[in-house]
Each structure stands twice: as C-alpha cells, then as structure tokens.
C-alpha cells in the first residue's frame, strides 16, 4: 500500500521535522530541559512570537506584507502595561481603535491600490511614536490577569505548549476550514475570480487586516504577561521574525498559500534556535546568526523535498 500525502501535508513535514530535530538536539545537549519546567522555559517567549506570526500570515494571505508588525506589537505592549492595567475601559477602547485603524489601512491599500510595504512602513513610525508617547522610559505593570494566564501551570503539559497548540488549531480552523478563510485565500490566489463570484474584496481585505490586528494585540498582551513591564522597543524584532516564521512554516509570499500550523511551528523553531546555541555553549554573539542559519538549512531541505516530489511525479 502506498501512502498518499496531500501537498499541504508535505508542506508541513519539513517544518515539523526541523522542530523535532532541533528539540532532540537540545534534549541531548541538556537532558534537564526534558521536563515540565524545562519545556516551559524553552518555549515561553514563543507564544507572543507565534501570535505575531499568525498576524503576519493573515496579511500575507492576501498578498500583502506588514513591515509594522514589530512596532505595532510594541505599541500594544505599552498600552497593556499602562492603560489596560490602570483603566481597563480606556485600554479596551484604544485596542478597538487600533483594530479599526488596521481595517482602515486595509481599505486604504485596496482603494488607492497602494503597495502595502510602503503604507505599513509609514505606520511603523506611527506606532513607534505612539509607543514612545505612552512610555518614554521602560516601565508600566502587566495586568494581573495577563500575568496569571501566562504564568499559569496547567497539569501535565506546560502553558507554552498548550497555548501554541490552541493558537495553531484555532487559526487552522479559521483559515483552512471556514468559508471566511477560503475567501481570504482566494483573494491571495485569484482576486478577480473571488470578485466575480460575488464577494467584496474590499470587505475581505478590511476583515483580514482587522483580524491580523486582533492577533497582534494578543501577541502584545502575551508578551507583557511574560515580561511584566514594557518599553517602546520591546518587540521590534517581531517584524522580521514573523515573516521568517511564516516562510519557515511553508507559507508563500503570494498566491494565498499559507499554513497556520506551519507558521506556529516556524515561530517555535526560531525561538528554539536561540536556546540551542546557548546549550552548545557558543557565545551569545551568534544567537541571531543561528536563526539565520536554521532558516537557510530548512529552506534548503524544502527545496530538496520539492525536487523529490517532482521526480516522483515524472516517474
């Protein structure tokens, strides 16, 4: 019997495999990491990155790119550590306003046919500016509930893993299984045919951007829940990390080809890459470099797999 795999499954194999190999190497180097606490420590910071990666993935689904992801998450972190903690009502209002702004951006980009890279580039300055206005110096306090959620200890499986699985499942059903997700991916694949089928691309784009903002807001809150305080530059790295995570997880820049589960795995892999090096006792200078190297290795593997797939088809 020959096992037939769908191309979506094949896309998932490489990221899953690389995460497993990385995890096994970490366990081999540091057996003590193989417990409840160890796993939690390894993957703690992956939760906000995974949420930001899902947000970026949504934008990439409609063939756009968000270069303001890092500064937006930083801004949200600042809101969470200030207003959301002291005056929840105002805090929630700000967050809703931020979602509205994102939806507005989607509309603007669509109506004026602007390159998303430039618009979000401009927005990255705006969010950074607002973050600095809120918190000129690092500080603030995490709301009790955010702290409680992020440091909670569910039985058997650590919080970080539970959260990652929930994020992956939820976004998988939203993007791959719901009719809303089909329209989104359709806009990325062939906008014209979606339009002819009677759907509003404008509404789809606005909804995508709003939803991306929602996930990015969760990322900001989760981050503050972990760090307990915020500053205006806290998540600037997320812009590049989130793009890398999506690609690592098997997503493409165009055509609406994305994989939510893959994106979460990609984010976990990138987080683990950093810890891997410290277990190898290589100086922390090379931490960022290791993330680059792992990205290259995984993409090389994917190329190899694609070639094998093609050969099989020809045979």
């Amino acid at each position: 019997m020959k096992l037939r795999l769908s191309s979506d499954t094949i896309r998932l194999i490489i990221p899953a495999l690389s995460l497993t190999i990385l995890l096994i190497s970490v366990f081999y180097l540091q057996p003590r990491a193989m417990g409840y606490l160890g796993l939690n420590l390894l993957f703690n910071l992956a939760v906000p990155i995974a949420l930001a990666t899902i947000a970026q993935m949504l934008i990439m689904t409609v063939n756009d790119l968000d270069l303001s992801m890092g500064s937006f998450v930083s801004f949200i972190a600042c809101v969470t550590a200030t207003f959301l903690q002291s005056d929840p009502a105002i805090g929630v209002a700000i967050l809703l306003l931020a979602i509205a702004v994102y939806a507005g951006l989607g509309v603007l980009i669509h109506v004026r046919d602007l390159p998303s890279i430039v618009v979000t580039l401009g927005m990255s300055f705006v969010w950074s500016g607002l973050a600095i206005l809120l918190l000129p110096a690092p500080g603030g306090h995490a709301p009790e509930w955010a702290r409680a959620v992020m440091t909670s200890r569910p039985p058997l499986v650590p919080m970080a893993i539970v959260a990652s699985v929930i994020i992956a499942m939820f976004s998988h059903f939203l993007i791959m299984r719901s009719s809303f997700g089909v329209i989104l991916r359709g806009v990325g694949g062939n906008a014209r045919s979606v339009e002819r089928a009677g759907w509003s691309i404008l509404a789809a784009r606005a909804a995508t951007y709003a939803l991306a903002a929602f996930f990015a807001i969760l990322a900001g809150i989760a981050l503050v829940g972990l760090t307990t305080s915020a500053d205006a530059n806290i998540a600037l790295r997320y812009t590049l990390l989130s793009i890398a995570g999506v690609i690592l997880g098997g997503g493409e820049f165009t055509g609406g080809r994305v994989s939510p589960i893959g994106a979460v795995i990609g984010a976990l892999t990138l987080t683990l890459a950093g810890s891997f090096l410290s277990f190898l006792r290589i100086s922390s200078d090379w931490q960022i470099g290791a993330q680059g190297a792992i990205l290259i290795v995984v993409l090389g593997l994917r190329l190899l797999l694609n070639r094998m797939e093609k050969k099989e088809k020809r045979a």
Binding site: L65, G122, F125, G129, S283
Partner: protein
C-alpha cells in the same frame, strides 16, 4: 508653461517639492537664522540615505519581491571591520575602503547564492543573510571602540565651498548610478527584467548575471555607506545601520521609483532623502518630542504615497 506641465508629470518632482516645502516652513520658523546650517546638515545626512538608497533602488528595479533586507547588517559589518583594519591610521584609509568594499562583495555574493541555489524569495534570503552578517558584526565588534583615521573623519564632517564632502561624494555616485541605469546595457537589462522576467529571458538577457551583479552592487554601496557613516560618527556601533532598513526603502519609493520594479529614477532619491531628514528637523525646530516626531514622519510618508499614488504591479 509646457515645460512646467511636463515637469509635474515626472515622478521624482514631488519629492523635491515636498522637501522644499518642509525646508521653507522650517526656515520660516527660525526667521532664516540657520538656513546655511540646516541645508548643510540636510545634505550631509541625506547623503548617507542616498548612497544606500541607490543600491536598494537597483534591487527594487529587478521586479516584484526583490528587496535587500541585509542593508543594515552590511553597513554595520563593513563599518566595524574597516575601522578595525585602519586602526586609526591615516595611511590605511584606502585600504580600509577596499576592505569595506570586499565585505560588500562577499555579502552580495552570499545573498545571491542563497537566492539562486536555494530558490528562496529574496526577502527571506537577504533576511537570513542579515542575521548571519549581524552576528558576525557583533562578534568582531566585541568591546571595540576604534576611532576613525583623522583625515577620513574630517573628510566626512567638513565642507567644500559650503557643500558637505559626503554630499559631493553622493552626487558623484548618483551620477554614476544614473549613467549605469539609463545609458548602459546593464541598466536597460535590469529594467527589462523588472518589467517581465520571462520576456527578458526569452530576449536572451543574461538574467542571472544581471541579478547577481545587482545584489553585489547594492551590498557594496551599503558597505561604502557603512564605512563613511562609521567615520562620520567617530566609530562603528552595532545599531548604526538599524534605521537605514526602512529608510532605504522609503527614499526609493517616495522618490517615485515603481515598487513593482522596472521603472526607476535616481533623482527622486535625492528629493526623498532630503525630505526625510528635513521633516525630522522641522518637527525638532517646532519643539515636538520624539514620539510626535515619529508619528508625524509616518503620517507624512503615508500622505506622500497616497497623494503621489502607488504605482504597484496591478497598474502595470
């Protein structure tokens, strides 16, 4: 009148109009007191964005998806390594420049090797490369605080006939870039690839060669900029390239180059670079804090792109 009409149709004119307006408004506030100082500072700081921007422009010319995210890391590494080699000695200035260029060539080759061999999108290839280059820079820079050679430092900060030296250098590089883009086979090839890579391939254009040369060119220009910037600011810092990632893309796009590629112009980069610096100094002059300044900068970038109209792939 007809010439005026023709001018308004040039995509680069708007960045100059915007730059002039901002300059004028700033001068208005100071009552003309610091006109010369402001203009010189604008030219100096714009010069750095112009040098990086030209490289980024050539890459963006290659078509959708082509962008070099490795620029900041290349600048940092080139600045760090060249200062280390020069070790503050005036006799080593030329050698230091060659080292910087060599760093640029190496990064450029690495970038294109990843794009070509692994067939990954340029954004991700240059992103992965930038992680590695940045790590190398951190490693070489460890606890390093080397002063630039005296002559080089004064060259980057002094003026000739009232014009900053670095601006003159940027002008020379821009003229070369203009000739390269508009008057050489290479430039025509690059634009052709940006308009349609398949058509270019069928026309017998050496697509790989041109793309390779372009990525190397971009990295070399970033390296030269890092070399100058490190000398200008009295030493290399690990975050010295940071703001040039967004800046290099912003000046290219605001300058009227098509984001979808295939249609570029050098002149607009000057307008856009001056504009970007002048906006910040205008807001400074009016006494706004860092937060408001950033917000305004962002809104102005979006405003410019909305008014000037995005020329994306769908319009082509």
């Amino acid at each position: 009148m007809t010439t005026l009409m023709a001018l308004t149709r040039k995509p680069w004119i708007w960045s100059f109009v915007a730059a002039f307006l901002v300059w004028f408004v700033t001068i208005l506030f100071t009552g003309g007191a610091s006109t010369l100082g402001l203009s010189q500072a604008a030219l100096t700081f714009a010069a750095f964005s112009i040098v990086v921007g030209i490289g980024q422009m050539f890459v963006i010319t290659l078509g959708p998806g082509n962008i070099d995210l490795c620029v900041p890391a290349t600048m940092t590494l080139a600045g760090t390594v060249s200062l280390k080699f020069m070790d503050g000695q005036d006799s080593m200035i030329v050698f230091g420049l060659l080292v910087a260029i060599a760093v640029g060539v190496a990064v450029g080759i690495g970038n294109y090797a990843l794009i070509k061999l692994l067939r990954i999108p340029p954004i991700i290839a240059t992103l992965s490369m930038s992680f590695i280059v940045q790590s190398t820079a951190i490693w070489t820079n460890r606890g390093l605080r080397i002063k630039p050679p005296e002559i080089l430092a004064s060259f980057t900060t002094e003026t000739t006939l009232g014009v900053p030296d670095v601006a003159i250098l940027a002008l020379i590089l821009s003229l070369l870039a203009y000739v390269l883009l508009q008057r050489t086979v290479y430039g025509r090839w690059a634009a052709a690839i940006g308009q349609s890579i398949n058509a270019a391939r069928m026309a017998g254009i050496p697509v790989d060669g041109v793309r390779f040369a372009t990525y190397v060119l971009c990295a070399v220009l970033a390296a030269i900029c890092g070399y100058l910037l490190a000398s200008f600011s009295g030493g290399a810092a690990l975050n010295m390239g940071q703001e040039y990632l967004l800046m290099s893309i912003a000046v290219v796009v605001i300058g009227g180059t098509a984001v979808a590629g295939g249609d570029s112009n050098v002149a607009g980069i000057w307008g856009a670079s001056l504009f970007m610096f002048l906006v910040v100094s205008m807001l400074n002059t009016y006494g706004f804090g860092a937060g408001i300044r950033l917000v305004m900068t962002g809104l102005i970038i979006i405003g410019v792109i909305v008014v000037a109209g995005g020329r994306s792939l769908r319009n082509h």
